[in-house]
């Protein structure tokens, strides 16, 4: 008790140095916990990009490739699934619902998805959250479009605006479907998933803009006006991928095998959760690097503390000799230094948690809008408590060396002080 209160007073006397040490420990704690929390949230959010979908079906390629273009709208599909196969799949007795996806066009760099209104019903993200319209309604007409939250915000589109889709997925496209503009009828609420970056139109709409095209280019001399297109048969020949929900999850491997071994067409079915996990594992190197960097920052902070303690030791030799003369035992001198390092790391940890908490509170809106992540620090997870405990243990460990030196000095110096 005596010793700890002396440690506290002594520390207060050197508060400017102590504050710097506490601050550096706090910053590193905030960084480490922040990275840790973001990492966990990001992984969770990533794994929840898509939920409630049992299988994703596409042309036979690689599972990660299929996942990338069907869910993340990245890269290009190798080939499509024929409309017949899609129909067959939709009619499969163990298939409860299907959502066809047709990709290939874009709106100023944002991917355009041709789909059905089932998309709005069955697409789930996070812990089974459905898509929600922030404004307007689902598409109904051939030339209706529903924008993801980020598309509307970044491009500044509102309900009723007219948009022109471009052929291909590049940000700059030379060929535009400017003869058949679409109208924005709905804007989705933010989800933090690739849905935010997507433009949704009906399969018929997708077909309509390509009705006078062949082989990826307009047929020269043939231009069918939009109002005439409405009356044509707009059933597509193929779709890019199909999201599938089964009547029973237990059938998932059976149905997957049936699709994978279908002789009529080279198709592939993947389990989204599993493939998302594989994809995340690919990024583990970066994740670990981030963690390693924050751990190193913590090490630096502890080194700062060690430096401060060792530097202070020489100035405080007189203090130690004095305490010895008053009857302080060598272990009390030892405890004085250990207590100080413990106090410094405790304050650092506390301030770090507060700092991060404040930051999380202040930036919560921005983070959830930009990243779709909800960062909350309270209550801390077991893992985070372990990190804090490790920090305190590190603080004690760091205090051991100067404490041992002070102990030795106290024994050697006795009451006199040899400078």
């Amino acid at each position: 008790m005596t010793v700890l209160s002396l440690a506290r007073r002594s520390l207060w006397n050197r508060r400017s140095t102590a504050a710097l040490v506490v601050f550096s420990v706090a910053l590193s704690v905030a960084l480490l916990l922040g990275v840790e929390r973001l990492r966990t949230e990001a992984r969770e959010s990533f794994a929840n990009t898509l939920s409630g979908v049992d299988l994703i079906v596409g042309a036979r390629s690689g599972p990660i490739n299929l996942l990338l273009y069907s869910v993340f709208r990245l890269g290009d599909p190798v080939s499509n699934v024929s409309w017949d196969s899609y129909q067959k799949l939709a009619a499969h007795p163990q298939v409860e619902w299907t959502v066809p996806l047709s990709l290939g066009d874009s709106l100023r760099g944002f991917p355009v998805i041709g789909t059905t209104t089932d998309y709005f019903e069955y697409y789930r993200y996070g812990r089974g959250e459905p898509l929600r319209l922030a404004q307007g309604e689902q598409f109904d007409d051939v030339f209706d479009a529903v924008l993801g939250a980020a598309v509307a915000r970044r491009l500044g589109y509102g309900l009723g605006d007219s948009i022109v889709l471009a052929h291909g997925t590049g940000a700059v496209s030379l060929t535009k479907h400017d003869d058949k503009p679409f109208t924005v009828v709905g804007i989705l609420a933010p989800t933090g998933t690739p849905v935010d970056n997507s433009v949704h139109i009906s399969l018929e709409g997708m077909e309509a803009v390509h009705v006078d095209w062949r082989g990826g280019a307009p047929i020269p001399g043939l231009s069918i006006p939009a109002d005439r297109v409405r009356n044509m048969n707009l059933t597509p020949d193929s779709v890019t991928a199909v999201l599938v929900g089964l009547t029973s999850r237990r059938a998932v491997f059976q149905v997957q095998r049936q699709i994978n071994t279908d002789r009529s067409e080279a198709m592939m079915a993947i389990l989204p959760g599993l493939t998302l996990q594989q994809l995340w594992d690919l990024m583990r190197v970066g994740e670990n690097a981030l963690l390693a960097v924050s751990a190193l920052v913590l090490l630096v902070a502890l080194t700062v503390m060690l430096t401060a303690l060792l530097t202070g030791l020489n100035e405080r030799r007189r203090e130690m000799a004095l305490l010895r003369a008053l009857g302080a035992r060598p272990w009390q001198i030892f405890a004085l230094i250990i207590g100080e390092s413990l106090l410094l790391s405790l304050l650092g940890a506390l301030l770090g948690v507060l700092l991060l908490q404040g930051l999380a509170l202040g930036a919560a809106g921005w983070i959830s809008g930009q990243l779709g992540l909800t960062i909350s620090l309270w209550p801390p997870t077991l893992h985070e408590l372990k990190i804090l405990a490790a920090l305190l243990a590190g603080g004690i460990l760091v205090g051991l060396w100067p404490a041992w030196r002070a102990y030795r000095n106290a024994l050697a110096d006795g009451m006199t002080i040899r400078m």
Partner: protein, 244 residues
């Protein structure tokens, strides 16, 4: 050996055939066949620097241990005690004043004076028994030493003059009625005209609390203020030439 009036109680300090060397391969710094101080006695111990004064004080405080012989404080043989018991013994029975920098810079004056009570419950009880509370005793001692202004007692000790600091140190040494006060060149940082005053005050307060005073100094002008004077060279048979 000086034949002082026969002590009525056990001597507060008794050294017998003491020999001390810092390292085995060095000659002894101290070889003291016999040295005693009676309870409540005030002794002026002179000696040039390097004569082993600080070493002697470390032996008496139980921080250094002699290689041979016995150091008895209040009849208790220090070499016979364990390290922990010696630290406790020092806390309970000794008050020590150094040449300078006696005070903890992070404690205010009053708390500096009360420090011995933090390390010794016995001293705390003594203080409470005599003056009602630790703080009352600290204030009484400071007042007797000429430091009573409340504003002064609340100031950081670093803002006090050296003379004031030494008086605070004296008050602390006397806190809780120790049996022996050791003052190691306590006046050497003071102005000449302040030295005498300090010695007078210290002597007066030691008498008042019944503490023996071992006053170590090389300033012979102060020796006359003590009933008994002694040169370390008289009792030390070793002839150290190096550092203390």
């Amino acid at each position: 050996m000086n034949a002082v009036s026969a002590p009525v109680q056990a001597p507060v300090l008794a050294l017998h055939q003491v020999s001390f060397r810092w390292r085995r391969d060095l000659p002894p710094v101290l070889t003291i066949p016999a040295f005693q101080m009676a309870a409540g006695e005030r002794l002026f111990l002179a000696g040039p620097s390097g004569a082993g004064k600080s070493t002697l004080l470390a032996l008496i405080a139980g921080i250094a241990m002699p290689q041979a012989g016995d150091v008895k404080v209040l009849g208790r043989s220090l070499p016979g005690l364990g390290a922990a018991a010696r630290d406790r013994f020092r806390a309970d029975h000794l008050g020590i004043i150094f040449q300078m920098f006696n005070l903890l810079p992070y404690l205010p004056v009053l708390e500096n004076v009360m420090l011995p009570c933090r390390f010794s419950p016995a001293r705390r009880q003594q203080a409470v028994a005599r003056d009602g509370s630790q703080e009352a005793q600290a204030r009484r001692l400071l007042g007797a030493l000429g430091l009573q202004a409340d504003t002064l007692l609340r100031r950081p000790v670093t803002e006090l003059s050296v003379g004031q600091q030494q008086r605070v140190a004296a008050a602390r040494a006397l806190m809780g009625a120790p049996d022996l006060v050791i003052a190691d060149e306590p006046t050497s940082a003071l102005d000449a005209d302040r030295r005498l005053e300090f010695v007078e005050l210290l002597a007066q307060e030691c008498d008042a609390s019944g503490a023996a005073l071992l006053f170590v100094s090389h300033d012979m002008s102060l020796a006359g203020r003590f009933p008994r004077q002694l040169n370390l060279a008289e009792i030390n048979e070793a002839r150290p030439e190096g550092a203390s």
